[in-house]
């Protein structure tokens, strides 16, 4: 399964980005292969519609789960209809590596 995580930087040490639509990077993590891909968010400075454009981006990567600090109501509704699961993490100090570890260990 592929998971998207919003990130403040392009390494595993980077903290999770609390914003969905305007995050710095999206990390696409594949739980089967363990591969990670860091995608700079082209929508972070969009005047309008950063949320939907980011849905477009992560959904077209084929993810089944998205992890971030918050989601707007519109974005939530679209993800719901696409059957993509949303996970909201409220810890501002958690790193991408820690999140991935969590999901890796959960699998076992």
């Amino acid at each position: 399964m592929k998971i998207a995580i919003t990130s403040t930087g392009n390494s595993l040490d980077a903290l999770m980005d609390g914003r969905f639509g305007r995050c710095m990077y999206f990390v696409i993590y594949d739980t089967e292969t363990g591969a990670t891909e860091f995608v700079p968010n082209p929508n972070k400075e969009a005047l309008e519609g950063a949320g939907p454009a980011s849905v477009q981006l992560v959904a077209s990567k084929g993810v089944e789960k998205v992890i971030s600090g918050e989601f707007g109501s519109k974005v939530k509704a679209i993800f719901d209809s696409l059957k993509i699961q949303l996970v909201i993490l409220k810890d501002p100090h958690i790193t991408i590596g820690q999140i991935i570890e969590k999901f890796a260990t959960q699998k076992k």
Binding site: P52, I78, S81
Partner: protein, 285 residues
């Protein structure tokens, strides 16, 4: 001359100032229009009983996509610079986010499969009422749940025409509806309360007006209620304090009966006239 009356949040007394200013201007024989631009919660009409002479519906066109005809090619999405369309080629899904559609028409041109058409959406109304000869109220009233009241406010401003004096009751806050209202103003009156919250909101409003390069001054409502910090700050920043309205039971009573204090009490009529003259003098500088 165009004067906007604004405040950082609702309930600080901007409608009180706007309606009383309107009253004294009318009494002084001015050709004046009051535009209630607080489209989400218009309440001027409660204080000024007039005769409605025109009611206009404000609407906007929107693109709609017919999923039967759509082949999920994604071209419309690529053409939409407002990010209003999500098209997922693989999942065979398409979404149009109405709130983000600016009716630019690009997607209609882009689609070669005739899957996109236009539909009309109602946003609100603009009502024009005659209060007295030569004095008019135009009210912007947005429908509940619309994404932005800006088109309704713009329609109300257009309907207000060019009277010799235009007063505009601005929406609270500093977002787009506020900016739309103050944009045409020659002067902005900021109404605040002498409390920490009042000062905080005032600072935000001032910052926005500084960015817009608008001349402004401050009216302190419910003077005597909080502390002296608002006054100290105004002095420090050299911002004109235009008027102090005392925290007075009598004013509250008159206001709660939807009456105008300038009509009930001559001394207030004089003070509001003075306020108007001060603003006019500041505008000439």
């Amino acid at each position: 001359m165009k004067i906007a009356i604004a405040s950082g949040k609702g309930g600080t007394g901007k409608t009180f100032v706007a309606t009383n200013l309107f009253y004294v201007a009318v009494k002084n024989g001015r050709n004046v229009t009051l535009a209630d631009c607080d489209a989400e919660e218009p309440n001027v009409e409660g204080f000024l009983q007039g005769k409605p002479i025109r009611k206009k519906t404000v609407s906007q066109n929107l693109a709609v996509i017919d999923p039967e005809k759509c082949v999920y090619c994604g071209k419309c999405r690529d053409w939409c610079i407002y990010n209003a369309i999500i098209c997922l080629e693989e999942q065979q899904k398409i979404y149009l986010l109405e709130d983000l559609c600016h009716d630019c028409g690009a997607c209609l041109v882009a689609c070669k499969f005739d899957a996109i058409s236009e539909t009309e959406r109602r946003l609100g109304t603009v009502t024009t009422s005659v209060i007295e000869e030569d004095s008019v109220l135009t009210e912007a009233r947005a429908d509940v749940g619309i994404y932005s009241s800006v088109p309704v406010i713009k329609a109300a401003l257009t309907a207000s025409g060019t009277p010799s004096l235009l007063l505009m009751d601005a929406p609270p806050g500093i977002s787009c509806p506020f900016i739309t209202t103050v944009a045409p103003a020659d002067f902005v009156v900021l109404v605040t309360e002498p409390t920490p919250f009042g000062l905080n909101d005032l600072k935000l409003s001032v910052e926005t007006l500084e960015q817009l390069g608008k001349p402004y001054g401050v009216v302190v409502n419910r003077d005597g209620l909080g502390d002296h910090k608002v006054y100290d700050w105004l002095e420090e920043k050299n911002i004109p304090l235009l008027m102090k309205i005392p925290f007075d039971r009598e004013i509250a009573r008159i206001y709660s009966q939807s009456l105008l204090v300038a009509a009930e009490d001559d001394s207030y009529a004089k003070q509001f006239l003075l306020l108007l003259q001060k603003i006019e003098a500041l505008c000439k500088n």
